[in-house]
């Protein structure tokens, strides 16, 4: 009963304080709004980059041509090896025999068809296309396959695609660092602003301590105040990100610049971001005020 009374009083006092210290509250809310918008932007970029990288990685594969003289035995051996390598870096592979290649080429154009008909033997090679799990080890896997003596050649898209994936990888890590840094900055700003409101009320805290209020009941109103400020501060960023991202997505029709770079669909992705922003605002607001009151409480 008493605990509930202290709780409701805490919530009431927090409301009062947010309204009474209007200018400071506005400052805290503006501060967290701005930083949370930056956090949201960084999160959206990070998530999209991550998705784009995954899409690109799917496109990267090793193409292996087996030697002309490779026997059925050896082909079988190679397949077995690839099965074993599934425990390693190989995700999947597709085997295409030279007959299949021939058929495909014949269907592709009449010129090829007549040319191939003139030849008595099939000049094409048996091939295997391998998709790997980790692009960073693409090279190692290729080297490993090259060592086999019945392999004529093993190649991967050395160049554009690989570099792009690497660049996106770096970008993704950078955005994660930026998100974390911005969250810290937000925590610092909200904490400082709340510290200002608390500084103006240190007499109140002092008297509460002297008349025998427990630390919990002193701290509670301030925790709620931080919570309210954090939540209020996350409303504008949430609206901005939802509308902003949906507009952006519609404007570009879901693709950025080229058809390779596909944006993440807004729903439910943007809802998660919104909830995350709310949570960050609330938690940071509370932590900020927790730290600030601590200074005036002997614990």
């Amino acid at each position: 009963m008493k605990a509930i009374r202290i709780l409701t009083r805490g919530i009431r006092d927090a409301f009062k304080s947010v309204i009474r210290n209007f200018s400071l509250s506005t400052a805290a809310i503006t501060c967290s709004s701005i930083t949370l918008i930056l956090v949201a932007t960084a999160m959206i970029i990070s998530y999209n980059v991550n998705n784009i990288t995954k899409d690109l990685e799917k496109e990267l594969s090793i193409v292996v041509y087996l030697k002309e003289e490779a026997t059925e035995e050896q082909i079988k051996d190679f397949k077995n090896r690839l099965e074993e390598m599934k425990n390693g870096n190989v995700l999947s592979y597709t085997y295409k025999s030279k007959e299949e290649w021939k058929l495909e080429m014949k269907n592709y154009s009449d010129t090829f068809s007549t040319a191939l008909d003139y030849l008595e033997t099939n000049p094409l090679l048996n091939s295997v296309t391998i998709i790997v799990k980790d692009v960073n080890h693409l090279k190692d896997t290729t080297e490993e396959i090259k060592k086999l003596d019945y392999v004529a050649s093993a190649d991967y898209g050395e160049g554009m695609a690989e570099n792009l994936v690497k660049a996106f990888d770096v970008l993704e890590k950078a955005t994660i660092v930026i998100v974390l840094a911005l969250v810290l900055v937000t925590a610092f700003l909200i904490g400082n602003t709340i510290r200002l409101t608390i500084f103006s009320r240190r007499n109140e805290i002092e008297i509460m301590r002297l008349v025998g209020a427990s630390n919990t009941s002193i701290r509670l109103p301030f925790l709620f105040e931080g919570l309210f400020l954090g939540i209020l501060g996350s409303i504008i960023p949430i609206l901005v990100t939802i509308y902003g991202y949906v507009l952006l997505y519609d404007h570009f029709n879901g693709y950025l610049f080229t058809h390779i770079i596909r944006l993440t669909e807004p729903f439910n992705f943007i809802i998660y971001i919104a909830l995350l922003l709310l949570a960050i605002g609330a938690v940071i607001g509370m932590l900020g005020s927790y730290r600030a009151v601590r200074k005036y409480l002997k614990i």
Partner: protein, 233 residues
């Protein structure tokens, strides 16, 4: 039973100043005690040790049988509920009315609104300020503000009332009034009162027990003491 018992108490501040040195004394329930001494004599430190704003460096301070020197910070609030505090600078909240200032003490410790009202009104009656309960502190005189501070200190019916130079900012006439209110509280409800002061006239007139500190050492402890000139020099 002795309500307050100080044994071999030392207080050395981190900057090396010894504020209290080997203090031994005890105060009975219902006593009215003056603590006198020049500035820097350790009066304030002694008083802060009682309500556990400071911890003794050595020795013990028993309040109602509990050694507050060993009291954990998170439990101090339980001690504070048994002690009322009156300050030289009143420490009233300017945005609250007289009534709200007194009620604030009870709200802070989680009392129900229904219990708060009669207690606050009774405390304000005791200090003769019932008709000013809707005023704000800045609309009151210094003496009235100090009476509000006393009302706030006694509203929770504490066992001990600690007053750190309550008349320091007031003129002699008003000071007398304040001390008479404290005396009345002491007689009517048996609250133990410990009052630190500089005011010779009050001490000499009241004929109460006087504890005289100088440089942190107990100089004299008279049952019906007075503020002698030579003692303060």
């Amino acid at each position: 039973m002795k309500l307050i018992e100080v044994k071999n108490c030392y207080k050395v501040y981190p900057n090396g100043v010894t504020a209290i040195a080997d203090l031994n004394l005890s105060i009975e329930k219902g006593e009215f005690v003056f603590v006198i001494g020049a500035s820097g004599s350790g009066k304030s430190t002694f008083i802060k040790l009682l309500y556990r704003e400071e911890k003794p460096t050595n020795g013990s301070v028993f309040i109602g049988g509990i050694n507050v020197a060993k009291l954990r910070n998170s439990k101090v609030y339980k001690l504070r509920r048994k002690i009322g505090n009156v300050f030289q600078d009143f420490k009233l909240l300017p945005k609250l009315t007289v009534y709200e200032n007194v009620a604030f003490a009870l709200e802070s410790i989680g009392l129900h609104t229904k219990e708060i009202r009669p207690k606050v009104i009774k405390a304000l009656e005791n200090v003769g300020l019932k008709d000013k309960m809707r005023s704000f502190p800045n609309q009151l005189s210094g003496g009235e503000q100090q009476r509000v501070c006393i009302a706030r200190a006694i509203v929770n019916e504490p066992k001990i009332l600690i007053c750190d130079e309550p008349t320091g900012n007031l003129d002699p006439e008003i000071s007398k009034e304040i001390v008479l209110i404290l005396d009345k509280i002491n007689k009517e409800s048996g609250t133990t009162i410990i009052m630190a002061t500089h005011d010779k006239e009050i001490v000499n007139r009241m004929k109460k027990r006087v504890i005289h500190l100088e440089n942190g050492v107990l100089v004299s402890d008279d049952k019906k003491g007075s503020y002698k000139e030579h003692e303060s020099n």
